[in-house]
Amino acid sequence: MTNPNNATITTVHRAEFTASDALKIPTLRILQDDGSLYDGATAPELDKDTALKMYDTMVFIRVLDERMLAAQRQGRISFYMQCLGEEATTVGSAAALSDQDMIMAQYREQGALRYRGFTLEQFMNQLFSNEKDLGKGRQMPVHYGSNAINYMTISSPLGTQIPQASGYAYAQKLRGLDALTLCYFGEGAASEGDFHAGLNMAAVHKAPVLFFCRNNGYAISTPANEQFVGDGIACRAVGYGMKAIRVDGADILAVYQATKMARDYALKHNEPILLESMAYRLGAHSSSDDPSGYRSKEEEALWRKNDPIARFKAWLLKQGWLDEAADNAKTEQLRTDILDALKVAEKVAKPGIEHLISDVYAEPIPALQQQLDELKAHIHKYPDAYPITAGRLD
């Protein structure tokens, strides 16, 4: 008899549940804390330049996060989100991609963004919502995006990028591009209905997407064990008929290796793959959050030792690819550069009033143009109340 149910029908005659933990997915670990490899592990092929670019990106992001969190505390920017503890996760995965691959991120993936080449000035312009911001000052800080480097502009609603990644990748396949889409999301966002829709559609329509879950243990205050009961996120893959792989998110060699392998496979077979990177959100959720309300300093302290940058640095030193003194000097210089860039960006003007209505449509619809004209007249009447725009109405 034909099987219309799309399932493998094997038979048993005694009722027995399939256990809730019937599937166990191991975690790939290559690099140890001291920079040596685990027994039986081999490092991925990685040339010195790439390795150093990865390292520099992690350091850049670490320093940027420190500085901008401080800037937020000083009231210079309104909001910030760090990625402390997850630098290897996003840099290692981004490094395994081709520049033509689209990246769709959640918000904590500045590592990937920087790896792609987003400049310090671009970071700053976005964070200060100034007129040089590619996003025209429309979104809260950290909602970066850039067409030129194939990094989709971030959107705050969680999970929405997941089915979008499936559609984007399907289009890449239809266009015959040698490129796929990598989609980052948190283990919290993986609870959204869009997760289910996105993974299932990618599997059914054979879209080359790397679904990359950053399982960092928390969604704001909600610990992962109040988010789901299954064994992490990776075990969901089998439900979609998808391959999966889990990595230690503080181990950049493991992240790189797994992503590279997944990319090759996905492109070759036009199949999505689910990756899960296990890490810990070491900082607060955002500058608006205070984790002391929901977790202990002891827990944080334990994880603070598990530093992805220190681990990679130890490896690089072992390889003889890193000069520690030069590196320290470079980091110092970076601190200065960032502060300088910050000072420049905060003085750049806000976007002009025409950008209140531009990009709502390709061209403003008449009613909207009229609203802008009326607004301009109003500002002319009360210039003091609208200092940002009053002086330059045209």
Partner: protein, 325 residues
């Protein structure tokens, strides 16, 4: 010219769009081999292959998200939501994502190529889950365009314009008219303007405004009014967003009266927006209150559908109330 019903006109439009641009891709529940439960995508899979016309899993939020992604890549997805009543699981993807995609990215990315097609409206004994007219839910969303055709000719021209449009469009198809509305339709490619209302009949006493399947109903009421010596100006709004306030206002300035008809419930329906705008644009010209003839403020009923709907008799009464005020 050929005689086509509305489904054939829509199918023909999709066919021409797919032939013209290989970025046009049609998908949705049962849209592939079967051609959709109403058969609007009939034969398109055969003609353009499974990659460009296909069934999706049963998830409207997934369909919308997938469509957003494809459009962001530069393709022109034409996604079908099987019934407009089932568009709500996709509401977040449409209202928070589709509508804001270009704006939020500062035009780094856009989903301008996207069209959602969806059959809407009552008159098919469908009860509240196969009869809704949800256009007003979307009309409060800057970034979207909303189009509703009244007949096969309009359907083809407006759908082709929607696919060509650089902004995302929700295209509501009056399913009651799918087979019932038949007319002459040019076989070649043509577009009709989005954002322009059409004055179907000149008149001097009162302006009667509607869209989609309600056009037939207001025509009936207008004929009844004519028998009473009332001269109606009849307007088909065609686009809900943007909507053509100038054409409506010009008419109301002439007639001094306005009756608006729509299928959806009164409260929060789009007639409210129109009335609010027109009372301001035409304040000194209005000779009677603007009348709204709409569905009752209840879910769409089944057994008592006749009583519920904004029919020609209720419209006729409103016209007479308006002229006799």
């Amino acid at each position: 010219m050929a005689k086509m019903n509305m489904l054939q006109a829509i199918n023909n439009a999709l066919d021409l769009a797919m032939a013209k641009d290989d970025g046009v891709v049609c998908f949705g529940e049962d849209v592939g081999h079967f051609g959709g439960v109403f058969r609007a995508t009939s034969k398109l899979q055969e003609k353009y292959g499974k990659a460009r016309c296909f069934n999706t899993p049963l998830t409207e939020q997934g369909i919308a998200g997938f469509a957003n992604g494809m459009a962001a890549q530069g393709m022109k997805p034409v996604a079908e939501i099987q019934f407009a009543d089932y568009i709500f699981p996709a509401f977040d993807q449409i209202v928070n994502e589709t509508a804001k995609f270009r704006y939020r990215s500062g035009n780094e990315f856009n989903v301008g190529g996207l069209v959602f097609r969806t059959p809407y409206g009552g008159g098919i004994a469908g009860g509240h889950y196969h009869s809704q007219s949800p256009e007003a839910y979307f009309a409060h969303t800057p970034g979207l365009k909303i189009v509703v055709p009244r007949d096969p000719y309009q359907a083809k021209g407006l759908l082709l314009a929607s696919i060509a449009c650089p902004d995302p469009v929700i295209f509501f198809e009056p399913k009651k008219l799918y087979r019932a509305s038949v007319g002459e339709v040019p076989e070649d490619y043509y577009e009709l303007p989005i954002g322009k209302a059409e004055v179907l009949q000149q008149g001097k006493d009162v302006t009667v405004l509607a869209w989609g399947a309600q056009m037939e109903i207001v025509q009936k009421a207008v004929e009844m009014a004519a028998e009473q010596g009332v001269s109606c100006e009849v307007i088909d709004l065609r686009s809900i967003l943007p909507w053509d306030a100038d054409t409506v206002a010009a008419s109301v300035k002439k007639t001094g009266r306005l009756v608006i008809n729509h299928e959806a419930p009164l409260t929060g329906g789009f007639a409210g927006e129109i009335a609010a705008t027109i009372q301001k644009m035409c304040f000194l010209h209005l000779e009677s209150p603007i009348e709204r003839v709409c569905g009752l403020d209840t879910p769409y009923p089944l057994a008592l559908e006749k009583e519920y709907v904004a029919d020609h008799l209720k419209t006729f009464e409103a016209i007479m109330r308006s002229v006799n005020f």
